[in-house]
């Protein structure tokens, strides 16, 4: 029996109708600080989320999946004010894309591209929720709810309850231009909840890009529903001046023959927690999720936590989790990754790798890989390593005349390389690599 099964069976009955773990007062104070929307099409989902959250309570440090990341800053009623960073060019400025700007978590139509005529249905949550029935009504909060079992994710329920805006996208064919969600800040103390819903119908294809800072504190949920043969590409980039305190969630349902590829780049920042919950429901589907993380503890506390749960319910499906974290000056990197293979999910090919590259002795990488397998004809592997730079490789590069700082940059890029391989689009991949190289080089020589 797995740890999580124990958690879900023993923890729930105790708490039914009783005080949540941190105490009702904490949750009450947390909710009181928010201006909760009533919702239109989303109203039933919000009511349900409120009930679920009340039952779960906010997480505490003793929660199985919150042992390595202190939930306190996420539990606090309000975030600390945070200076607004200067506006920088984004990674995707040179790419032909459909740009949607959110300022403090609110859609900014004037700064965004025209939403009509892209060959896809696209609305903002705020606008759609003010109207009547909407296709997203059948999905909003649904994948989030499904993703609560067996591991509770209170902040995701909080998001479904509290989110005022986000993007709702439905595509029926191949969408040529990527959709770029660009986040900006204007209020120093904004506590932002964004909730996006994406539905790709049979054979549809979409690329979603995300950059920028959502708020002083952010809580995001991305629900992705992929019908048979749909293909979804996702690239998120967080830079030093972007979110300083944030929790992000991806809840995905991957249908027959569908493909999901998600890549996240995180450079510095402060405390980040990303939860990826992917359920492969159809046969012959593919789900890859990867992240390249660079953390320097000198620029404020750096703590980066990726918590991933991939469920295989279909046959002959492939999943990959590839996580690489480069840490220095006391930075902390966390990876908690699980592969669950349900009964009957034969010929599953599950792969998970997490690696920490520690550039000094004060940094830390903690990994908790888990496999739970209920089918007998599967191939699942996981690995995790933590180490310093390879001295032999460093000497090899230096012996060719490459100065030490530059050699370190090359070896860091080498370390991160296989996360970038998860980006299919060569132009996007090269763009990220170039920026990463420039960034590292300017740090190394500046």
């Amino acid at each position: 029996m797995s740890d999580t099964a124990v958690l879900s069976t023993s923890a729930r009955p105790d708490r039914a109708g009783a005080a949540p773990r941190v105490g009702d007062t904490a949750l009450t104070a947390r909710l009181a600080a928010l201006d909760l929307p009533a919702g239109g099409f989303s109203a039933p989902a919000r009511r349900d989320a409120a009930a679920r959250l009340n039952e779960m309570g906010l997480p505490g440090p003793r929660d199985e999946y919150w042992r390595y990341t202190d939930p306190a800053p996420f539990n606090a009623p309000r975030p600390e004010a945070l200076a607004i960073p200067p506006r920088e060019a984004t990674l995707f400025d040179d790419i032909d894309r459909l740009k949607l700007v959110f300022v403090d978590g609110v859609f900014d139509a004037a700064a965004s591209d025209d939403l009509t005529g892209e060959g896809l249905e696209i609305d903002t949550l705020a606008a759609a929720d003010a109207g009547g029935d909407h296709w997203a009504g059948a999905l909003y909060g649904q994948l989030e709810t499904a993703g609560q079992n067996p591991v509770r994710r209170p902040f995701a329920a909080l998001n479904t309850l509290a989110a005022r805006d986000g993007v709702l996208i439905r595509a029926t064919g191949r969408v040529a231009r990527p959709v770029h969600l660009l986040y900006r800040r204007s209020d120093e103390a904004a506590d932002v909840h964004l909730h996006h819903v994406i539905r790709l119908e049979q054979g549809a294809e979409l690329t979603l890009l995300e950059t920028g800072a959502m708020g002083a504190r952010s809580n995001a949920v991305l629900e992705v529903d992929l019908a048979a043969g749909a293909r979804f590409h996702h690239i998120a980039s967080k830079r030093a001046d972007d979110d300083k305190l944030g929790i992000g969630h991806i809840f995905a349902r991957v249908g027959e023959g569908a493909l999901l590829k998600s890549f996240a780049l995180a450079v510095n920042g402060r405390v980040m927690r990303n939860e990826g919950v992917i359920e492969i429901t159809g046969d012959d589907a593919v789900a890859h999720i990867a992240a390249a993380v660079l953390g320097d503890g000198d620029e404020g506390r750096f703590h980066h936590d990726d918590t991933v749960f991939i469920t295989h319910a279909g046959q002959r499906c492939e999943s990959r989790q590839v996580y690489k974290k480069v840490l220095k000056n006391g930075a902390q990197g966390i990876f908690q990754g699980k592969i669950l293979v349900r009964p009957g999910a034969q010929k599953t090919d599950g792969y998970q790798i997490s690696k920490g590259l520690l550039l000094d002795e004060g940094s830390q990488f903690l990994a908790k890989p888990e496999l739970e397998i209920y089918a007998d004809d599967v191939k699942c592997s996981h690995g995790s390593t933590t180490g310093a730079l390879d001295e032999t490789a460093l000497f090899y590069l230096r012996s060719r005349g490459v100065p030490r700082e530059q050699a370190v940059v090359l070896l860091v890029l080498s370390f991160l390389a296989d996360t970038l391989e998860e980006i299919e689009d060569e132009r996007l991949r090269d763009g990220i690599l170039t920026r990463l190289d420039q960034w590292l080089t300017s740090r190394a020589t500046g």
Partner: protein
């Protein structure tokens, strides 16, 4: 060009003396070979000259063109014109061979106060130099040494040497892991670089490499010292009689 005087070296972590007074002079334009049994200190000498960590110089000196090698960082030694072809070239996943070569070449040019090569100039040069070593565009694009055969790795070392145009080239058992054809390719590459302004120090166990790269002087190293030096015939003597006989002779 290369002058080593009474060089004493021990392991940094252990109380173990490896080099016990090496004296060696390699003038410009010459090829010197160092032969010797396992554990005699041949590879240590090459690492100490190129600046690898883990060794402590306890005495003596090593100069390149009158400059103190031992005071320099590895990258400074490279910029000063020293090159070591590794016995076991290192794999660097995710870094293209071309990127690696260009970074190295431009770093050295920069260190010497020369202009960096443009992308086009570099490409022309690397194609031309690669061709002679049968290194094609595909091999240049692959990550450094990843998935390369033994022969490909050694050819890649020689390509780096030919691109970087060092004054003093040290080849550490470049013949290990090479078949006959690869040995010829590598040797041709080395011979093409021979010239009056360049010197070579070829470290090898076997005489066969010296059939292809003809040395001017052969040194025998044993127990951390050069115990005998002579002409090319000395290598043949080793091949015929083994080290044991020879070492007994020098005492």
């Amino acid at each position: 060009m290369l002058e080593i005087k009474n060089l004493h070296v021990k392991l940094e972590e252990e109380d173990k003396q490896i080099l016990k007074g090496v004296d060696l002079t390699v003038p410009a334009g010459e090829v010197h070979a160092i032969m010797g049994p396992n554990g005699s200190g041949k590879s240590t000498l090459s690492y100490v000259l190129s600046g690898r960590d883990g060794y402590q110089v306890t005495g003596g000196e090593a100069m390149l063109d009158g400059r103190d090698l031992l005071e320099m960082e590895p990258e400074e030694r490279a910029a000063a014109g020293l090159f070591l072809a590794f016995q076991y070239p290192v794999e660097i996943p995710g870094v293209g061979n071309m990127t690696f070569l260009r970074t190295a070449l431009n770093a050295q040019r920069k260190a010497r106060g020369q202009d960096e090569l443009s992308a086009a100039e570099f490409l022309k040069l690397v194609r031309e130099r690669g061709k002679a070593l049968k290194i094609d565009a595909e091999m240049l694009k692959r990550p450094v040494n990843v998935g390369f055969s033994g022969g490909e790795k050694k050819r890649n070392e020689i390509l780096q040497m030919s691109m970087l145009e060092p004054r003093m080239c040290i080849l550490d058992e470049t013949d290990s892991g090479l078949d006959v054809d690869a040995m010829r390719l590598v040797s041709d590459g080395v011979n093409a670089l021979r010239g009056p302004d360049r010197a070579f120090l070829v470290i090898t166990h076997y005489q066969r490499l010296l059939d292809h790269i003809k040395p001017d002087v052969v040194h025998i190293m044993a127990d951390g010292r050069i115990v005998k030096s002579g002409g090319p015939d000395l290598a043949l003597e080793v091949e015929q009689n083994g080290y044991a006989g020879l070492l007994a002779e020098v005492g």
